[in-house]
Amino acid sequence: MDFTFTEDQLAFKEAISRFLMTEAPPEMLREIWETEAGRSPELHRSIAAQGLTALSVPEEQGGLGMDDIAWSLLTQELGYYAIPDSMVDTAYVATGLLSALPATVAARNDVLSQVAEGNMRIAVAHSINPLVADVHLADTIIVEHQGEVHFLSREQLEYDSNSSIDSSRRLSKISFTPSASTQVVDAQAGAAIWNETLNRGALSVAGQSLGLAQRMLDLSVDYAVQRKQFGKPIGSFQAVKHKLADVVSGIEFAKPALYRAAYALAQGDARADLYVSHAKLACCEAALVAARHGIQVHGAMGYTWEADLQMFMKRAWALNASWGTREFHRQRIAKDIFADGAAVGPRYTFGE
């Protein structure tokens, strides 16, 4: 029993954090938000050059074969720096799906190698998300159609483009004509793959939300120390302290839920759905509370375009309903814990 990370895992997280701190400062985010596509080609290149897209690709296809447990740390960093979606969708969610495909799928290894090299952006279209992120710049779109897995190029589908409150996100409704040539896995084999993908998507949102919560907390603490009223920093007032203390509690108690869920997913635990839904709800809630208290602590500044808080707040709001609404995840928990003979109680913390 060891519910901690290895020194290697923590050192890697630290290295990614340092890399993103210089490559993706808030000014870079603002530039991204101003562009037509919501992306920065330079950031995309530096991320690929750093090898971040290769992290979960199996070693045989030129990657590092990193698992969900390591990603539960990395997604927090991606959230902390509000790295636009396609990075995590391609390098984590889509790569997990591709790796799970049977070796008989001809395109599998080729696509994985291209992801590892940083030459391919992938959008994942699961019916849990009525709007698909990043179709407009994806090279390949992996689509769920009644449980089947389809590979499509942008040209093979029709899509519109909606802009989001998070200016780095473009969201599309898609339609296409399924055919034998687009299908790579049938519905029977696809069911497990899609459920795992949904869990991985939800977990990636959970990790990012937690990182966003931490970023909003840090910004709010900085502001509360620097902003003075009544002759002292507003952070010396209990009303402000207690709000920020609640943000800390939310983050600290969402973290272990995230790690538990990542472990369950990596192990193929039968209760992975339960743990992932808990993590998703707890982490998104932590981010929403960090946003609510963050804007209050920032006062009128929090309501401006100028304060950096807005970018992280909007990402948190946008991600909340992504990869399953709260109700969806609550229903999954209810289905488990209210079932006859459910493993609920002190003895079942780790599924004894």
């Binding site: 519910f3 603490v221 302290k241 108690f253």
Partner: protein
């Protein structure tokens, strides 16, 4: 990360499970807030001690088993799963015991620790005073040095179970000129000493759950001071950390309440149909208790690698005390018109356990340092926000 128990841990769980299955009284003990119930609980503690299960984390020579924190968590999981009696000597076992181990002399340890493990001595706390609550440094009760004795005068209050306990530990001012947290000393006072008066205070549930304690020229030997004279504040702060941290309220306690709450909701839904709001309340409680358990295992893992628990224990205290309230509020709502019925009433549900728990939960955000104080600690020590 590796979330599987070792064979040794599984064997320990099995042993505890079997022992409890054979030994937990079939009839629940009487409330420990009555003299009779208190003594029943003392006997239960003695029984645990005989099997070296009262303080599993203590070393063998003190009657424990030298368990690590993972094994302690396992013990607690089994203890609460078995519905075993509430522990009644937490003050001695979880607060004073570790303090003695860290700050006590060899003679003090030898004398007091085994008697704590066996609950031969039951302990009450003496922190709060009428004018020193959250502001504990405002303590005025005095322990005046006199030869190789101290003479104690003053008043302590909110002392849980003091009317039945044998001893009290707490802070007293040994330097009359001192201010705030200086000049305080950590003392152990026998409650049967001449000059001690214990006056019960009726708690919300009508029981004499806590007391005021008056000291009128009470003489205690210098042997009863823990740590250096005048250094009591530092000693007490260590104890406060133990209390807020994991030990006082193990995750299993809340997981076991959630289990009952889940069952209650199933009954409720069968009778009245699904209710989304109550379903969500129960789910929130389940998540809270699980998160506390996961957080405990995570923290234990970190401490085994050398990390120290500091202000983080304040987060635990807020989480469990507010979770306890939420769980009981949800239960009261599901019980509807039956929620207010007292134990023993003809139509009462689950013998009024939810009501008892609901009343006790009201105290959670207040005792062991109010949640406002805990939030200050988090803000000032973890976030380094300026003191007000």
């Amino acid at each position: 990360m590796q979330l599987k128990f070792t064979e040794k841990q599984k064997a320990f769980r099995q042993e505890v499970q079997e022992w409890l299955a054979h030994n937990v009284p079939k009839q629940p003990l009487k409330s420990y807030d009555t003299r009779e119930g208190f003594e029943e609980h003392r006997l239960w503690e003695a029984k645990l001690y005989e099997s070296r299960l009262s303080m599993v984390m203590w070393p063998e020579h003190l009657g424990g088993r030298g368990c690590d924190l993972i094994e302690w968590l396992i013990f607690e999981e089994e203890y609460y799963s078995a519905g075993a009696p509430m522990r009644v000597n937490h003050n001695g076992q979880l607060l004073l015991g570790p303090t003695l181990m860290e700050f006590g002399t060899e003679e003090q340890k030898k004398h007091f620790l085994p008697r704590i493990a066996s609950s031969e001595d039951m302990w009450a706390q003496g922190w709060s005073e009428p004018d020193a609550g959250s502001d504990m440094a405002a303590i005025r009760s005095r322990a005046t040095p006199d030869g190789d004795e101290f003479v104690i005068n003053g008043q302590k209050t909110w002392s849980t179970r003091a009317i039945y306990a044998d001893w009290l530990f707490g802070l007293f001012r040994t330097d009359p000129e001192s201010k705030r947290h200086h000049g305080l000393s950590y003392m152990m006072v026998p409650l049967n000493a001449p000059g001690v008066t214990v006056r019960p205070i009726k708690a919300l549930n009508g029981k004499e759950a806590f007391a005021e304690v008056f000291f009128d020229d009470v003489r205690i030997p210098a042997f009863n001071c823990i740590g250096e004279v005048g250094q009591g504040w530092a000693v007490a702060m260590a104890t406060a950390g133990f209390e807020r941290g994991l030990l006082l309220r193990s995750p299993a306690r809340f997981q076991s309440t959630v289990k009952r709450l889940v069952d209650l909701y199933r009954k409720y839904a069968a009778e009245h149909g699904e209710n989304g709001r109550l379903r969500d309340a129960v789910i929130d409680c389940w998540m809270g208790a699980e998160a506390y358990a996961h957080s405990a295992y995570h923290t234990v893992g970190l401490t085994s690698k050398g990390a120290k628990i500091g202000a983080e224990s304040s987060i635990n205290k807020i989480i469990w005390s507010e979770l306890d309230l939420k769980m009981h509020e949800a239960a009261m709502e599901m019980l509807g018109a039956y929620a207010e019925l007292q134990p023993g009433s003809p139509d009462v549900v689950e013998d009024g356990n939810w009501l008892e728990g609901f009343l006790f939960a009201q105290a959670g955000p207040i005792y062991a340092g109010t949640n406002e104080i805990q939030r200050n600690i988090i803000a000032e020590r973890m976030l380094e926000l300026p003191r007000g």
